[in-house]
């Protein structure tokens, strides 16, 4: 429902050092500023990169958040694959159409 809010927070973390600082100092306070469901809040806090991917977060946003939270490239890719195994196919957003994988 609030994929927009999830992506907005990640976008701002990517682009605004002041928001990154708030993540470091008061993560819960930062999360409270966005209209997030429990599941979304947990996925961002953990972080559960795979779940965020399945929720529909655009990879051009998500890969930077994964890096910020210490995921190397391979770990980021693996987290998305793991997310699909655990939570099923991507629910909404750019990546929902059925597509064959190589």
């Amino acid at each position: 429902m609030s994929l927009y809010a999830v992506q907005k927070l990640i976008y701002q973390l990517n682009r605004d050092p002041r928001v990154r600082e708030q993540l470091a100092q008061d993560f819960d306070g930062l999360l409270a500023q966005y209209e997030l469901s429990e599941e979304e809040r947990n996925a961002i806090r953990d972080p559960d990169i795979g779940l965020l991917y399945v929720m529909g977060v655009n990879g051009q946003l998500l890969m930077h958040y994964a890096a910020l939270r210490g995921f190397g490239w391979n770990a980021y890719i693996e987290a998305m694959r793991e997310g699909e195994r655990k939570y099923g196919p991507v629910r909404t957003g750019l990546y929902t159409s059925a597509g064959s994988r190589s």
Binding site: K8, N58, Q60, L94, Y95, S97, A98, G99
Partner: protein
């Protein structure tokens, strides 16, 4: 006609950032094609370079997502990415606010442009500039076509934008070069990152250099997504260049899938000065 150059190129971050991990033969071929393009632009003696790119949430988000936005700054900054990761140092790039304004006013007769008096380049613009204006001595006018956050602009409007840009150039005294950057097939930042659909790419490029409008506009996003990935939506930048070069055909100077660069690396140029249709 004051549109003096029109071409397209890839912009994937790996092209510079992971250059040491690519097949040297392919990489050097790509780099040579970029250099040939640089010299061709130089030979066209442009006063400014319009870069039609598809950015990746550097400046634009769904809180105000323009279908097409043109820069109107006196200068720009970029790249936003980590310099070591991208392999490109952050720098200030000259713009031309007066020329931007004149172009925007002309194009607005037909296309409902957003404009931006500041702009931070991401790899979508910084990678091409690294090769094409390495001394950052040519004024750049950035353009963004939203290829990330649906609803996306229909392909026909991208072609129309190119045509409007061409008319605007014709109405102005300046000599203007235009490049489109993006695609073609790729699955960036997804579990399929590195996948490339060479057959799809070659078929698209054939239509592009033939400037076969109807065939270019027949692509549907749903099918593009399945066959060419969400990165394939960036064909919008190529289609805008085809519109700018309407009535002209071109040639592919380089195409090769380079998996470590995560895209079929492409350099193609329209022959503007020789009416060949």
């Amino acid at each position: 006609m004051s549109l003096v150059f029109a071409g397209v190129c890839s912009h994937a971050p790996g092209i510079v950032g992971r250059k040491d991990r690519a097949d040297p033969v392919l990489r050097d071929g790509l780099y040579a094609a970029f250099e040939r393009m640089r010299l061709a632009i130089e030979a066209a003696r442009p006063d400014a370079l319009v870069v039609i790119a598809a950015e990746h949430f550097a400046n634009f988000f769904m809180n105000n997502m323009p279908a097409i936005c043109m820069g109107m700054g006196e200068h720009y900054e970029g790249p936003i990415e980590d310099e070591a990761w991208l392999g490109i140092k952050r720098t200030r790039v000259p713009g031309d606010a007066q020329l931007s304004k004149a172009l925007i006013e002309e194009v607005m007769n037909d296309i409902d442009l957003a404009y931006a008096q500041e702009w931070k380049f991401d790899h979508g613009i910084s990678v091409p500039l690294h090769f094409l204006t390495p001394r950052y001595d040519l004024p750049v006018i950035p353009v963004n076509i939203n290829c990330q956050g649906p609803p996306l602009i229909p392909l026909k409007r991208c072609y129309e934008f190119g045509r409007a840009l061409r008319r605007a150039c014709a109405a102005l005294p300046q000599r203007i070069a235009v490049i489109g950057t993006g695609g073609i097939s790729h699955w960036p930042a997804t579990p399929d990152s590195g996948r490339i659909n060479e057959a799809w790419d070659r078929a698209f490029l054939d239509k592009f250099i033939g400037n076969r409008r109807e065939e270019l506009l027949a692509y549907k996003d749903e099918q593009t997504w399945r066959e060419a990935g969400q990165g394939g939506f960036e064909i919008r930048t190529f289609i805008a260049v085809a519109g700018a070069a309407e009535g002209h055909t071109g040639e592919v100077w380089f195409y090769a899938p380079i998996p470590i660069f995560a895209v079929g690396c492409t350099i193609a140029v329209m022959r503007l000065r020789h009416e060949d249709e």
